[in-house]
């Protein structure tokens, strides 16, 4: 088993509240990713679950047992650090065997366990080498091996891939996903890289300024962000935000006006919206050349040709933020020349004045899965 419950978990550094009453349930065997910008408290939360940082108030429960006061080893967790934290004077074998040596496991059993971990991680040929001779990816695999041999209830990963180059990161993402399938263990993974979060997680927890902004499956966060923060954080390039005014709200959706054009967005309305300023969100990959429910012209100042896609940046009148469109790789556009663009009402998101989303009327099953391949890094 490996069920984790966080009940009103708070963390203070002096009077500064780093984590503001986190409530979360991580089910057995789930791969949960904590994601958020730097300083949002995601690593602190992971370290508190590990037992490396004290919890100020609230309960950390593992399999129904309160573990706040237990040392890491008694919590049934294993942790993989961002910086690998390998022991440089020990061989790969001894590094992986370290936790087993601590618990004084008989040599024969220890050897079998280390060799099994090495087989899973393709490190059999490296067992007698020291970490200094290994590549970044191999070092991180050794660190994962050290976690595997303990057969923990919960694996904790603290940005384990952020020190690797892009190609290796992609490989390791696949390996970690395979490992999760193979071990069927609960894994909690901290990252600031949304691609890692989107590709590996069963469920993503988006943290912002010490609070959970939204919890959900990757597609859910992408298509139904609960607020402007999540909408902006998930998706690359960021979602475009346009100021609009609510004209009407009915069964068909919410009608808004943007620079003289009216468009009805299929979202759930709420009383008192009419006349209020709202924010319309549209992802760059949902902008097309030509006319649509909402049409306008832009003059791109910068165009990035990425092969598969073309990313165009333009400034809209009256808005300081760059407006970004992700178009097909062969899009016939040029910098400083007028381009007509259109946005379909069904692709739009709508947020109220406090940044909370009006619920989109889209079924996740209807959504083109191919869209998720867009972005990436």
């Amino acid at each position: 088993m490996g069920q984790l419950n966080l009940n009103k978990v708070q963390k203070f550094y002096g009077t500064f509240e780093v984590l503001k009453g986190i409530e979360l349930e991580v089910r057995n065997g789930e791969f949960v990713v904590f994601v958020g910008p730097s300083g949002c408290g995601k690593s602190t939360l992971l370290r508190m679950i590990a037992g490396l940082d004290e919890t100020s108030t609230g309960d950390i429960m593992i399999d129904g047992k309160r573990v706040n006061d237990l040392p890491p080893v008694k919590r049934g967790i294993a942790m993989v650090f961002q910086s690998y934290a390998l022991y440089p004077h020990m061989t790969v074998f001894e590094n992986i065997a370290f936790p087993l040596r601590v618990e004084k496991m008989p040599e024969e059993k220890l050897k079998a366990k280390v060799e099994n971990a090495a087989r899973i991680l393709h490190l059999e040929q490296r067992l007698q080498q020291k970490p200094g001779l290994l590549s970044g990816g191999q070092r991180q695999r050794v660190a994962i091996g050290r976690a595997i041999v303990r057969e923990p209830k919960i694996f904790l990963f603290d940005e384990p891939l952020s020190n690797l180059d892009a190609a290796l990161r992609a490989d390791m993402r696949i390996e970690l996903a395979k490992l999760h399938k193979q071990l069927k263990a609960t894994m909690i993974y901290v990252t600031h890289d949304q691609v890692e979060a989107m590709t590996m997680a069963d469920r993503i927890v988006v943290l912002n300024a010490g609070e959970i902004s939204q919890t959900g499956a990757p597609l859910e966060l992408y298509h139904k962000p609960a607020n402007m923060f999540v909408a902006g954080f998930i998706g690359n390039p960021r979602m475009n935000m346009l100021p609009v005014v609510c004209k009407a709200a009915g069964d068909g959706g919410v009608e808004v006006e943007y620079k003289g054009q009216s468009v009805t967005i299929p979202v759930g309305g709420r009383p008192g919206l009419v006349g209020q300023p709202l924010t319309l969100g549209v992802r760059p990959e949902h902008i097309h050349i030509g006319k649509s429910d909402l049409s306008m012209t832009v003059v791109p100042s910068v165009i990035e040709r990425l092969g598969a896609h073309t990313v165009a940046y333009a400034s809209l009148d009256g808005e300081s933020e760059n407006f970004c469109a992700m178009l097909p790789g062969s899009a016939a556009i040029r910098a400083d020349e007028v381009v007509p663009i259109g946005i379909a009402a069904t692709d739009c998101h709508l947020f109220d004045a406090s940044g909370v989303a009006l619920e989109r009327r889209v079924e996740l099953t209807d959504i083109d899965m191919g869209l998720l391949k867009i972005g990436g890094g």
Partner: protein, 286 residues
């Protein structure tokens, strides 16, 4: 097209000449007394006061290295004492300083900063200032004229700088290594022994060498103050035996000096192989 590598020929010839001239002058200043001392040890006594003075010995020989043992029959004992005292002082200092430095490097506890400051303050005292109180202490405990009387003050005076040195070294060892060991169930002592100690070996070696040399050098003052027996006297006291009433046997004194420091040189020679850098390579991504 220029293919000149960036890092080669950083200096012009006259700059290099200046650098080497500076190094030569510095080395001459440092080594000249040793060279002169060695040349004196090769000269017969009669040549030492010849006029004009000759630096290079005529008919030089190693005769003084033989006769020094005859002139001062107990000289081997002095060497043993120095070596023994320094070894014990070094061992005790390391035993106390390694866990202390680890604690100062890793744990936050009340008064740690003040304590470190106090250590530094103790080092600012001249040893001579404390000789009389120490003498009274030793007499009260009845340990005058024992090895104990020379070892204990040596340890006490060498610990502060050793703690500072090793603490600084240990602070450079990534904290994640301790945390990884802690998560894996290792106690602080186990982590220190199996993880930190091997990585800190170069730092510990530096502390061992400086403590050994420090002890070798400072025994003199304690030995003269707290000890009057030949059997516990270290090398610097022994060297005084070559100062006769009528004359100083300079060539034997110099020979004895070189023989006396030989054990320390051998120890340092063997210890320096632990001074390899880069031991933490591959520990964490820098």
């Amino acid at each position: 097209m220029s293919t000149q590598p960036a890092m080669i020929n950083r200096y012009r010839w006259y700059e290099l000449l200046g650098i080497y001239a500076g190094i030569f002058a510095f080395l001459t200043f440092i080594l000249a007394p040793f060279v002169e001392g060695f040349l004196v040890s090769l000269k017969p006594l009669s040549q030492l006061f010849s006029s004009p003075y000759r630096f290079i010995p005529q008919n030089g020989s190693f005769e003084a290295y033989r006769t020094m043992w005859v002139s001062v029959p107990g000289f081997a004992r002095y060497i043993f004492n120095s070596f023994f005292i320094s070894t014990i002082v070094t061992a005790v200092v390391l035993m106390l300083v390694v866990p202390a430095a680890y604690a100062f490097a890793r744990f936050k506890f009340k008064g740690s900063g003040q304590l470190l400051g106090a250590f530094l303050a103790v080092n600012m005292f001249s040893g001579a200032v404390l000789l009389i109180p120490l003498f009274r202490l030793m007499r009260t405990f009845g340990v005058l004229n024992t090895y104990f009387a020379i070892i204990v003050p040596g340890v006490a005076f060498l610990i502060p700088s050793a703690i500072w040195l090793l603490r600084t070294y240990m602070m450079r060892i990534p904290r994640e290594l301790d945390e990884a060991a802690f998560v894996d169930g290792a106690s602080h002592f186990y982590t220190l022994r199996r993880v930190i100690l091997p990585i800190a070996m170069p730092g510990i070696t530096v502390v061992a060498i400086t403590t050994f040399i420090g002890s070798y050098a400072q025994q003199f003052i304690y030995a003269l103050t707290f000890n009057s027996k030949t059997e516990y006297a270290p090398l610097p006291v022994g060297l005084f035996a070559y100062f006769g009433r009528q004359e100083v046997i300079w060539n034997e004194l110099m020979a004895a000096s070189f023989v006396g420091i030989a054990p320390a040189m051998i120890v340092i020679f063997f210890l320096q192989r632990y001074l390899v850098s880069g031991l933490t390579a591959g520990a964490v991504k820098q």
